[in-house]
């Protein structure tokens, strides 16, 4: 471009056609140089890195990536026999620790304390839900012997497992300051062994509960209305319901789902002899602990309403009979069915009960000396 001003420039002159050959050649040269620059420029850092030798990719990176198993399980082996003994870095430990320390412990504590606080508040505001009409003296049979046995079987196991489990979860923060390290060690050892031994019985209790309580626990339209009326918990707003109300059905299905989840995860944790690694164990622990605190929180509500929270409720599970007025106030549709079936006002006659629940043929008792008595 240096000689541009010296050129006689008469642009408007129509004497020449197109660009002069000299200019065209020069433009071509510029374009070629530009092309070469564009092509070579990106290679410069590579070349500099290559020649400078200061930025060689670390040949050890591959090894440490394998140690950390960044691209799946490493091709590793060891003379040490044991589950995952060839794993150099445990991939789930830190995540499990964070879940337990930062989620399970604090969130679980807030959930349980919150539930207790809510129940205390409810107790203060609403008090014990009374039998509005008093006791009628007429009894309605509600739960069979087998249902009650299985309920309390599961309940005893549940409370024992919940208490021992909570000691293991919160003992370090709550009990060590009280009992000291040695005292709490004995407590925790007892709780751990008790939890591990009683745990495997619980699945059978859950199964028995499902078998004996499944009937009548399907949700229907009535439950929807029951939920909209807040289960009749508010004064003067009764909610209609059949044999089970929406809350009881919800609790039943919680027992089923939580019970199965907690049983399977618990068995995985308790029987670590099938070669399950830390990933499976940690996952099982997450499920076990997470479900457990929700299960326990929900059970607090169940225990509250079944004992101090409502007059006339506990006897359904202790003696198996409820007062007709209790049934009228809490399970009106069921009472109507029972009245129609002539089951209201039955006497809690022991022999009648045995007949109904055990289906024993009592014919033999009538005449002494027959074969039945010999047995």
């Amino acid at each position: 471009m240096t000689d541009h001003p010296s050129r006689p420039a008469i642009p408007s002159e129509p004497r020449q056609h197109g660009v002069p050959p000299r200019v065209r050649a020069r433009i071509t040269r510029y374009l070629l140089a530009l092309l070469a620059f564009v092509l070579i420029a990106p290679l410069v850092p590579y070349a500099a890195a290559y020649l400078g030798a200061g930025n060689v990719p670390n040949p050890g990176a591959g090894l440490w990536n394998e140690v950390r198993q960044r691209a799946g399980p490493a091709d590793a082996n060891t003379q040490a026999r044991g589950v995952e003994s060839a794993v150099l870095i445990n991939q789930v430990g830190e995540r499990w620790r964070q879940f337990r320390s930062e989620m399970l412990v604090p969130v679980g504590a807030w959930l349980l304390l919150g539930t207790l606080g809510f129940l205390a508040l409810f107790w203060i505001l609403r008090g014990r839900i009374p039998l509005e009409g008093g006791r009628s003296g007429q009894l309605v049979p509600r739960f069979s012997v087998n249902q009650r046995v299985v309920h309390w079987f599961a309940a005893i196991l549940f409370v024992f497992l919940a208490v021992t489990g909570l000691v293991l979860l919160y003992g370090r923060f709550v009990l060590i300051p009280i009992l000291g390290p040695e005292g709490f060690s004995a407590t925790a050892a007892a709780c751990k062994e008790g939890h591990n031994l009683f745990g495997p019985i619980f699945p059978f209790a859950v199964l028995a509960m499902i078998v004996l309580f499944l009937r009548g626990n399907g949700f229907n339209q009535i439950d929807l209305k029951w939920f909209f009326r807040a289960g009749g918990l508010l004064k003067g707003h009764p909610a209609s319901s059949g044999y089970y109300n929406g809350g009881q059905k919800s609790w039943f299905w919680m027992v089923v789902l939580f019970g199965i989840a907690i049983s399977i995860s618990g068995l995985i944790l308790d029987f670590g002899v099938f070669g399950q690694g830390r990933e499976v164990m940690a996952l099982a622990h997450v499920v076990h602990g997470g479900v457990a605190v929700v299960f326990i929180a929900a059970s607090l509500g169940h225990i509250y309403i079944g004992t101090v929270g409502m007059e006339g409720a506990f006897e359904s599970m202790s003696h198996g009979y409820v007062d007709a007025n209790w049934a009228r106030e809490h399970h009106d549709l069921w009472l109507a069915e029972m009245e129609a079936a002539g089951m209201v006002g039955v006497e809690p006659n022991a022999l009648e009960e045995v007949k109904r629940h055990d289906n024993i043929d009592f014919k033999g008792f009538g005449s002494p000396g027959t074969k039945a008595v010999q047995g």
């Binding site: 196991l157 062994e193 031994l197 009960e353 055990d358 047995g375």
Partner: protein, 213 residues
């Protein structure tokens, strides 16, 4: 300190009460006057006695349906209890060191645990049925409940001491064991020794009458 007292003086006291009490009860039963059977026996009493000891271990015909619960839970509890009592490694060790001077091959840990689970489930179910069943509740006395609860507590404290590393837990287990042993001869727990006696007595009487029962 506490463990030494429980495993020392208290243990010896309980063992003496247990042995003397059980023997005294058995001798007392033996010396009960029985009415002389004047009838000419139609058969020997011995086979009847032996047969009845065995046959009464199963439900009689006609009661099988109603007694399934007791049969299953009863055997769960009793078999479990005897496996864990006689074949648990710590018990075998205790028997060897403190009672007989010799031991035997203990059950593997898993069998001990499974037996314990069966026993725990069995005793809980049986006791709950005692509470929940109107007839069972009516015929149960304080003794029945006390024996069931005491046995359960002994088993529970044993379960809690499974880690075998804390003297306090072992002492609590031993304390409840001592309580049970002192209570044993004066309660229905005596059925552990009297059941063959009672069955044999009935069986012998039936055998002499020529009745298969």
């Amino acid at each position: 300190m506490f463990l030494e007292f429980v495993e020392g003086p208290l243990w010896y006291f309980s063992a003496v009460v247990f042995v003397v009490g059980v023997l005294w009860r058995l001798v007392d039963i033996w010396r009960q006057p029985s009415r002389t059977d004047l009838a000419v026996p139609r058969g020997s009493g011995v086979p009847g006695a032996l047969r009845t000891i065995v046959t009464r271990s199963w439900t009689a015909k006609g009661f099988s349906r109603g007694a399934t619960f007791h049969l299953v839970a009863g055997y769960m509890f009793h078999i479990g209890l005897f496996v864990l009592l006689i074949f648990a490694a710590p018990h075998v060790k205790f028997i060897e060191e403190r009672i007989l001077g010799f031991g035997w091959t203990p059950a593997p840990h898993w069998l001990f645990m499974v037996a314990s689970d069966l026993a725990f489930a069995g005793i809980l179910l049986l006791w709950l049925r005692r509470l929940m069943h109107p007839v069972m509740r009516k015929i149960s006395t304080f003794d029945d409940h006390a024996a069931a609860i005491l046995t359960f507590v002994v088993m529970l404290t044993g379960c809690l001491a499974l880690l075998k590393s804390h003297d306090s837990l072992r002492a609590i287990h031993m304390l409840t064991v001592c309580l049970l042993m002192v209570y044993f001869p004066f309660s229905r727990l005596m059925h552990a020794f009297t059941f063959p006696v009672s069955r044999a007595y009935t069986g012998a009487a039936m055998g002499r009458k020529g009745v298969s029962a």
